[in-house]
Symmetry: C2
Subunit: 223 residues, 2 copies
DNA sequence: TAATATAGATTGTTCAACAATATTAAATGA
DNA sequence: TCATTTAATATTGTTGAACAATCTATATTA
């Protein structure tokens, strides 16, 4: 029924939702500094929307974990600290560990994971470290898909968004993803072979290594 | 420094947040029917707040999973269906399974769990089935505390709130909790003894039994 | 210097109005 | 009669101004 272009898509969602998407993208792209205060007047002017609408945007993005609302003080960009990193990795161990246990050869999520690995490898060849990081994130998001739970996948996406903000705080975030392309490939191979035990061990090693390097870089960049 | 009464507490949070708390309580208490549409004008009048403030309340409660926002159509009370129940239990298996794995004798969360069991038993003696259900929920919330993750605990609380709405849809929700008081006691005993393997098995049995009975009652009540 | 008081800026909330969309009711046609 | 279309109505989305409540920064005082 699309006569010419699907021009209905953009206006299908409300203005607040569309701006929330922009806001999310800007945050992930690192246009705002962690901990930075977002003035209502300033941001409303920037997006050319009213204060009331912006407040709805803030509630939306806050619920996604990218912004923090302090009553009577304003809205701030979340700035994950050391405790947050440790906490995030505790969650990852539980949820991704569960994903490995729920894995079964031939599961659609495995194909998605392999696709992420392939794209990450291609991106590395071209030196596009930004894309390498994105695909690495997508890999782990796809892995949670093994649980076949929309709620779990949605929550994990929210967690990865917060983790992405951690990377943004670090200078050489690009190279932090490099060593994991191979580990991701090995992990998906084990899962495709149905070797849950080995995959579980590999995941533990992965998360430990990843946590340590991120925590190290984080402490170094601020110390 | 409290001269007379700590009268600052209630006004410390914004009006929207306070009304959101009321809204949440009303939803859990079952004052609104699942799937019911909440008219802005009507609810705003009921709480005696402006439409704009109510919309902030809606965003707040929506992010907690108790309300659903449909663009241009309004806000509705979530009405978990069969798929939602299955999905919720998939999440429970992953997260609570992880909690059992992370358990260690002497962990503070175990004491909380035992407290919930005791209060549930006392409530059963007095025939307060509502309280039995509440304590049962609290028991599993406390169990997730074994993971020592604020994020995981916060998310699981949100999940339990949604599950509570499922119970509200069923007539005899009270008796659905009865058989689990003993199972909860056994589970915490195994964890206190440090028998992870046995606790894991007991949890699996628990979740399977619980899922089946809830799903059965749900399908029966609507069929 | 430290504590206090004042002035200014920002957030919280309300209201009225209009635009955009959805729902209902009526009218039309087969 | 039934279905489709049209018109009328109601609801949500968004705005701007205004004021109250709270926080922040400056200036004053001891």
């Amino acid at each position: 029924m699309d006569t010419d272009l699907n021009r209905d898509a953009p206006s299908e969602r409300s203005l607040a939702m569309r701006v929330a998407t922009q806001m999310r993208d800007l945050l992930i792209a690192g246009d705002f500094a962690p901990g930075e205060k977002l003035s209502e007047h300033q941001i409303a002017t920037r997006f050319d929307i009213s204060r009331n609408t912006l407040r709805e945007v803030f509630r939306l993005v806050t619920s996604e974990g990218l912004l923090e609302h302090v009553p009577n003080r304003g809205v701030f960009v979340v700035s994950p600290d050391e405790a947050a990193i440790l906490d995030i990795y505790r969650v990852r161990r539980v949820i991704q560990g569960g994903a490995v246990q729920a894995s079964a050869p031939g599961h659609p999520a495995l194909a998605q994971m392999r696709g992420c690995v392939a794209r990450a490898q291609a991106a590395r060849e071209q030196g596009d470290w930004q894309l390498v990081g994105t695909e690495n994130m997508a890999f782990h998001g796809a892995m949670v898909g093994l649980c076949d739970s929309t709620r779990l996948s949605a929550y994990f996406a929210r967690l990865l968004a917060e983790l992405r903000l951690v990377f943004r705080q670090m200078e050489d975030s690009a190279f932090l993803h490099e060593p994991y392309i191979r580990l991701n490939a090995e992990l998906v191979a084990l899962l495709e072979a149905g070797d849950i035990a080995a995959a579980s061990t590999a995941l533990d090693a992965y998360l430990l290594k990843s946590e340590r390097s991120i925590l190290g870089a984080f402490l170094r960049d601020r110390g």
